[in-house]
Structure formats: structure tokens, C-alpha cells
Symmetry: D2
Subunit: 135 residues, 4 copies
Amino acid sequence: MGHIEKMLRAHPEPAGSDGDTALACIKACFECAEVCTVCADACLAEPDMQHLVTCIRLNLDCADICAVTGRLFARPSPRDAETLQHQLEACARSCRSCGDECQKHAAQMAHCRICAEVCVRCAEACERMIGALVP
Amino acid sequence: MGHIEKMLRAHPEPAGSDGDTALACIKACFECAEVCTVCADACLAEPDMQHLVTCIRLNLDCADICAVTGRLFARPSPRDAETLQHQLEACARSCRSCGDECQKHAAQMAHCRICAEVCVRCAEACERMIGALVP
Amino acid sequence: MGHIEKMLRAHPEPAGSDGDTALACIKACFECAEVCTVCADACLAEPDMQHLVTCIRLNLDCADICAVTGRLFARPSPRDAETLQHQLEACARSCRSCGDECQKHAAQMAHCRICAEVCVRCAEACERMIGALVP
Amino acid sequence: MGHIEKMLRAHPEPAGSDGDTALACIKACFECAEVCTVCADACLAEPDMQHLVTCIRLNLDCADICAVTGRLFARPSPRDAETLQHQLEACARSCRSCGDECQKHAAQMAHCRICAEVCVRCAEACERMIGALVP
């Protein structure tokens, strides 16, 4: 069991029936934030990076949005559900558009290929979490 | 003219017809992020802070959401419009719920009164920006 | 191999001889940022949280400092070494003081016990990274 | 009087004799975080941006470091002084190296010229704050 999982179990306000979905979403968001941060830096270091500008921009936005979304869900106490839902929609959408852009360069650059996979997985985790919030 | 405004004018991709709306939104988001950060710390320093727990939680979330929303709009190059729209909706909603909670304590604590005002103004700025994005 | 590790290997500017130390530091910083975020929220949810105010404050600071430190090292391209060194010192020190405070409550609250462990490990990872930067 | 100033005055733990120095530091850090964020995006939008890669990297780091430093000082309750000192040193140094790099392009690009000025001012504000912390 990872540390985040242990922490959420030790939290005095236990997670509801959507605890597993939330845990998966938190992990996916933090992972995607980290991977997009590396991908932006890796794109900037490519010899021919002029055609990667859109990718860098989307990576930077996606890293910021995923980091804040992960952070919100790492605070499991009761919160404003509507805010969380909009934030998940922003995060899912950001991961989709970043993932689509990275996918275009997946054959040429391993960092974009890995980033595209992680973005898609994060989008799916956010979409499942939206489904859990809005019954 | 403030530094953000000068920077946006010096940006090689000039803002479109919604430039003033975007500038107002950026300023409001950064200001609200700062004010909510102080308010959370001020609530934690109140002698009887047990009844301020909800306020602290909403302040922390609102500070994070406003900071990332301000950051996204401080990057004026072309981006994914749908992501920006969802992020603005998250930010407007977060400001409304934080502002409502702070308003409950406005008569007792000046920091909550000021924070409530700043939150409402930021919500309005985000809502106007949503209107500019979605014609 | 985790995603961060794969991403760093796919980066066009390969890590130097301190690559393993840097990877451990990145992982420890992101983990500590997440765990401190949960711990602050868990402390706020404790029935008798008035005596946890110092712990909450240090958790919030440590979460922010670890998040930015992890982010800087997740950008492996050449950077200003002196900036990185000061940032590592801030992070190591923040983890030490947050870990010390959490340790005081470790017997009563599992979230503080886990957080104390994670903070110490992150401090050690940062200190090793300082040693790698400053030969 | 700006909102941050009003908030700090409304805080239940009044600032000490270094209150004005701290306020100037907070404002400078948040302003520099915003300006560096715009500058990174503006550099990415320049037609010949290959030679601006170092500038973009330093802008991104400086934006993150300034944002977290501003945030720490926007929480005026008692904290770990040694952590704050290291963080200020990281911030001052980051502003110096980003400002030096931006200055190289100041004649060609107004955004780099403004950013260089703002970075120097933030470095000075952080250095004064270090002087106030360490008597």
C-alpha cells in the first residue's frame, strides 16, 4: 500500500463508497502533473523544438491543472461538490488535449509517447471520478 | 499601467477583442489567490478557530484554484478553449462558495469580510471571461 | 520502472552521475508534498484540532516547498546550480521541522506518524542531493 | 492600500517591526511570479525562439519559486525562520539568474526588458527580507 493510500485510511473522515475511485484519481493526477513537467522540459531540450511549441504549452497547462486537481482530492474532508466537478472536467479535458498533441510526436520521441499514455489514463480517472460525484 | 498589463502588451501574440476582460480576470484571480492564502492563515490564528474549519478548507481550495486559473490566463498564446472554460467555471464556483462562507463571519472578522468581497469580484471576473470565451 | 524514471531516461539531455540521487529526490519531494497535503486536511478534521495549529501550518508550508522542489528537479535540463542548492536547503529544513512537529503527535494519530516518516525520508533525499550538487 | 496590505493588518497575529519589509517582499514575489509566467509564454511565441530556451527555463523556475515564496510570507503566523531564510535565498538567487538572462534580450524584446527589471526588484526585496530575518 502506498503512502497516499495509508494517509487516506488514517484520515479522521473516512472516504465514502467512492474511495477507490478517488484514490485512483489522486494518483493519476499527481503522476500526470509530474510527467507533463518532464515532457515540457524534454521538448525544450530537443534539437528541433520549434514544432513542439504547442506541445510545450499544453504540457505546462496540463501539469498545473493536474497538480491542483490532485491536491484538491488529497483533501478528503467535505467540500463544495460543484467546484470539484468543474475542476475534474477541466483536468479531464486538459489531459485529453495534451495527450492528443503528445500522441502526434509519439513515434519520434519516447517522452511524448509515455506522456500521451499517462494523460489518457488521467483523463479516464477524472471521468470516472466525475461519474462517482454525479450519480 | 501595471506590470502584467505591460507584459501582455509586449507579448508577440496580441490579445484579441477580449483583452481587457482577460486582464481583469488575471488580476482578480491572482489577487484572490493571495487574499485567500492570508485568510486561511488568519483563521488558523483566531483564538476560537474550531468553527472556522469550513472557511479554512474553502480558502485553501480557492487559493489553489485561483492561482492556477490566473497562471493559465497569464499565458496568452493560443490554447485549448474548452479547458479554459471548465477552469473558469471551477474558479467562479470556488470563489462563490468561499465568498459565501467568509461572508458568514464578515461581521466578526475583517479578514473574512475583505476576503468575501475579493472572492465575489473574482467570481464576477471569471463569469465575464466565460461570456467572452463562449459567444 | 515508474513513469518518472522512464521520462527521465527519455529526456534528450541525459542525467549525469547523480541521476539516481536526483530521481530519489524527485520522488521523495512529490510524495512528501502529497502526504503533507493530506496531513494538513486530516489535522483540520480532528475533533480536538486547536493544538494541531502549528502542525497544520508546517504541513501547508512543507507541501508547497516540496511540490516546487520536486518540480524543479523534474526539469533535468541545465539550470542555475546555486538556486537549486538553496531550494534543496529550504526543502530539507522544511521537512525536518514539519517531521519534528508531526512526530510529537505520532502516538495519537496515524496520519502524523506516517507524515513524520515521509518528511524525514524527504529531508534525507534532499541532503544527499545537496551533497551531489556540491562536491 | 491594497488588499494584501489590508489582509495583513486584519490578521490576528500582527506583523512585527519587519512588517513593511515583509509586505514589500510578498508583493514583489507575486508580481515576479506573474511576470515570469508571461515572459516564458511570450518567449515561446517569438518567431526565433530557439535561442530563448535558457530564458524560458529560468522563467519557469523563477515563476514557481517566486509563487511559493510569496505564499509562505502571505502566511504571517509564526513559522520556521530557517526554512524561510533558505527559501528567500533560493528566490533571490533565482531572480538574479533569471534577470541576468532576460537582460541579455532586453534590447530586442520588451517582455524580457520588463521581466529583467521586475526580477531585480524582487531579488532586492528578498535580500532586504533576509536582512530583516537575520539581524
